[in-house]
Amino acid sequence: MTERSQPNIAIVGGGPGGYAAAFLAADLGMNVTLIDREQNPGGVCLYRGCIPSKALLHVAKVIDECRHAKNWGIEFGEPRIDVARLRSFKEGVVNKLTSGLGQIAKARKVQYIRGDASFENSNTIRITKNGGGGESTTFDRIIIATGSRPAVIPTLKLDSPRMLDSTSALDINDVPGTLLVIGGGYIGLELGTVYAALGSKVSVVEMTGGLLPGADRDLVLPLHKRLEKMFDAILLNTVTAVKEEANGIRVCFDGKDVKEREKVFDKVLVSVGRKPNSQIAGLDRTQVRVGDRGFIQVNKHLQTDDPSIYAIGDVVGEPMLAHKASHEGRTAVEHIAGHKVAFEPNAIPAVVFTDPEIAWSGLTETQAEKEGREIKVAKFPWAASGRAVTLDRTEGLTKLILDPASERILGVGIVGSGAGELIAEGTLAIEMAALAKDVALTIHPHPTLSETVMQAAEVFFGTSTDLYRPRR
């Protein structure tokens, strides 16, 4: 019997899914090639997504808090905004993190190649290098981690510097006087928040019934209220046409309660979702199957119909989130290494980094309703949280979604300042199959917002210290 040699693997795409896979594969002793167009690993998340937007949202929050400080007897006056320095702060953040990843790749002996990959067959890819030239290499296994890109609505396509997508909006070339955000999903609301804090008059238009479609309405409501104050308008109708004029983009609206049928904006940001990057050259020379909506079809081991090829991250389906991609990447590599593993989380947390933040994990009320699943919901309003009162931010809400029979925590939803950090505890509770009692009996530090998770569990038993409820 021959000794089992370490496989030679290639990963196409250097985002959070791709580099997590590459680094683990290297740690397991595999021969790893990571291919991406950028100078360093990082992908959309680090270059044009999560990270730069969070840097800007932090700034937005500081601006907003300074304005808010008036209520506490502190006045800073109007902020002076140096867009160039702001941009370089953001670029500094991106460079620090991506170059760090580049160094880690080197240290782990991952071969990082800048270029584009196309398939010659199931095991061979041709890499066209950025600087020109190319080579064909054969690998034992290939992981596709090509991610996604902003979706485009053909009727709203307009070649103009006034039209932004999430990528160009993050460049902050200027602060427009008026900005229309098309699409009330998390990307639109996060970027809208940034521009509103910098001084733009922001309007958001969402064609479905409300902001953040899919999220539980009680979580969205506090954000909706705050955005109503922060934004110029929140419109729940559709955009039928855009056209460029001398002084801006003329936008036509249609819908039930349209007040203004047409309006001119300095800039328009289109953020109507993302599309998987599954149109990879030569994919038809493999057995990989692309399903409807463009997602590559994989089994629960992240293996495509072609046994040599795996796919992970945004390109295989919703939710399109970096942390889902990383987990999938690691699972795929472990499967390649011969471990019996599958991607089967009980909860994938989702966070909207607006102010207040919205975060949820596991089962949502909306989903339970759709499935006709019986649940109990325990809610703790932050008005009863001491910490929330000290922050002067009492609009938050923490809720647990529980199985009535076993009292097991199936889902957690939080809206409020720092909800994104708080959701981690909820996710752990779901993954560990914690009961409401477990969380209620775990001592939480006082005074913190994390107490609201414990208190919500107490609400379920009707014994919350800080919230009186008459007996049912």
């Binding site: 889902k324 019996k340 006709g372 199959a433």
Partner: protein
């Protein structure tokens, strides 16, 4: 644009194979019109549309496996639902005779009906029920001291829905808490005057009722839409469960017994990640789930001993041990089998194609695995001299033909076996290991394996001992035709006590058939041919039929099997014995 999704098909049926697609983009479709033929484990059914309009896009292909809730096609300028009620109510009548199992409408149950469970509202303060039936407006009642208004967080009613007293109609967020507001009226909602996100004051009009409908207090009835869903689903189940019906009868072409409902709100698992089978989160920590997978055990089948059914590492190990020791008792059948070892990567050696296992094949695979793994098989071989029988057969052939049958060796074998089973009752029995009992059957129903396009099917002929050969020949011919025409009903294949399989038409000198569990024996016939037989002090050319009897050695001993098979061989050799002994 309207989507048509695969409606729920019945209990425990979650998917089917698309055998025939009857629509194409651009074609117009009407409610009730057949969309496709779906092959499930139980039957082939036609799936009727619940929407009307022009088909925009067809999202499935022939040969695909389709799950409940999957989108089949989309419709432009779609209409649907106007005739819903009429159709829905007539549907159960049109449904075939077997009673629809009124499967608890879990999935469609209204999210939070339970009017009895008093709303948790802190302030479900004096909601004064109207004194006369005239009142048809519901206004926001007083919520409690110093609470004058709230934000409408969730609206739980819509026009046309049935609302009953005590049923929550919305969630209101006040300064103090989020409360559910229960209705003080019963009836059908006419108009809703608030919308989600509104700020609502005490006394503000929330909804109005249809005039005259207020008095009826269907306290616990689901809304009308849901009711018609239920009807539709039950009718559909009645059709597909099709016990006692043929596959064709299950859904007659001219009269699809499915009600058409514009929007089937089937349980959809929208937010799931790619490749994740949705079975609900299992109460086990991530490392415990991984351990189970490594051991090849389905974690969903492991009983958890922790609080709330939580499965610990120890539970997994204990379970694995019990499976390996074979001590997992009869309780857990197929689910407890260890997974088969992983397949090698065949594509290393050349091109491969993967095809999904379809209905009959899948069922056969499961059934054979069950039989092979639970029955200790032995096969006994023998030969019967049928020279004289052949002469008789030719002689009686016209008579059988007259009765519409074909005088085949199998038909004669039926009669022979029935006689043998009477004399050797342990071959007409089953074993109940759990109770440690032998079940002797006082009826003789013999299955005959039939090779069809779709695979192996085994129709059963009842009371074989009470029928003569000509009758049996006619019945066998009829059943074989039914099998090949896909007209066998599940009932036609049930209740066998013994099985005959004849491969003689193809060839071969002998084989080891697998016992058709829970029967205990099966007789295989191979090709008969001329052989030299030593008789009367010389070799004579005789027509010889090879016989192969597989049996369950738990119940039947080798000597009994030899005697049984010899008896059968002799019966073939001396056909007149049949009339004497049979």
């Amino acid at each position: 644009m309207t989507e048509f999704k695969l409606p729920e098909l019945g209990e425990n049926i979650h998917q089917g194979d698309l055998v025939r697609l009857m629509i194409a983009p651009g074609a117009s479709i009407a409610e009730g019109q057949a969309v496709m033929e779906l092959e499930t484990d139980k039957a082939v059914v036609e799936v009727p549309s619940s929407v009307s309009g022009t088909i925009k896009e067809v999202l499935v292909k022939q040969g695909e496996k389709i799950k409940v809730g999957q989108v089949i096609f989309t419709v432009e300028n779609g209409a649907g639902g106007k005739r819903v009620e009429a159709k829905a109510s007539s549907a159960p009548a049109a449904a075939p005779k077997s009673e629809p199992k009124p499967a608890a409408p879990k999935s469609e149950a209204p999210p939070k009906p339970a009017p009895s469970a008093a709303p948790k509202a802190t302030a479900s303060a004096p909601v004064v029920p109207s004194e006369s039936n005239e009142v048809s407006e519901f206004k926001l009642p007083e919520l409690g001291e110093n609470i004058h208004q709230g934000d409408l967080v969730r609206l739980m009613i819509s026009p046309g829905a049935q609302v009953s007293e005590g049923q929550p109609v919305m969630e209101l967020e006040t300064e103090k808490a989020v409360v559910e507001v229960p209705s003080s009226l019963s009836g059908i909602v006419k108009g809703v005057h608030v919308s989600q996100g509104d700020q609502i004051k005490v006394g503000q009009l929330i909804f109005t009722l249809e005039p005259g409908a207020t008095s009826q207090t269907h306290s616990q009835q689901p809304s009308r839409a849901e009711e018609s869903h239920d009807h539709a689903r039950m009718a559909f189940q009645a059709a597909i469960q099709s016990e006692g019906k043929t596959e064709e009868q299950a859904l007659p072409r001219d009269q699809p017994p499915t009600a058409s409902v514009a929007t089937f709100s089937m349980p959809l698992h929208l937010d799931r990640a790619a490749g994740v089978e949705h079975r609900g989160p299992v109460p086990a920590a991530p490392h415990v789930r991984r351990l189970a997978r490594e051991l090849g055990i389905d974690i969903h089948s492991i009983p958890g001993n922790g609080p709330g059914g939580r499965i610990s590492e120890a539970d997994v190990k204990l379970y694995a041990k019990s499976v390996i020791a074979g001590a997992a008792s009869g309780a857990g059948s197929a689910a407890t089998h260890l997974q088969q070892p992983a397949l090698p990567d065949f594509s290393k050696w050349g091109k491969i194609e993967r095809v999904s296992m379809r209905g009959v094949r899948r069922k056969t695979a499961e059934h054979m695995w069950e039989a092979w793994s639970s029955i200790p098989h032995v096969t006994q071989q023998d030969k019967a001299d049928i020279t004289e029988l052949e002469q008789l057969r030719t002689k009686f052939a016209p008579k059988a033909a007259e009765a519409g049958g074909k005088m085949t060796v199998t038909a004669i074998a039926l009669k022979v076996c029935a006689s043998a089973l009477k004399i050797f009752p342990q071959f007409n029995a089953s074993i109940d290991m759990e109770k440690e009992e032998i079940v002797y059957k006082q009826f003789i129903n013999i299955g005959v394996a039939v090779d069809t396009d779709r695979g192996l099917l085994v129709p059963v002929i009842r009371d074989v001992d009470k029928k003569n050969i000509v009758e049996l020949a006619a019945e066998l011919t009829g059943l074989s035709k039914k099998a090949r025409d896909k007209k066998l009903s599940p009932a036609d294949m049930e209740g066998g006590t013994f099985t005959i399989t004849n491969l003689g038409g193809i060839g071969g000198t002998g084989f080891s058939p697998i016992v058709n569990y829970p029967e205990v024996a099966i007789l295989g016939l191979s090709r008969s041919g001329m052989e030299p037989v030593w008789m009367n002090n010389k070799f004579e050319p005789r027509m010889v039929l090879p016989l192969s009897l597989s049996y369950d050695h738990r119940l039947i001993d080798g000597a009994d099997a030899a005697r049984f098979l010899r008896w059968i061989a002799e019966a073939f050799e001396q056909p007149f014995l049949l009339s004497v002994q049979g």
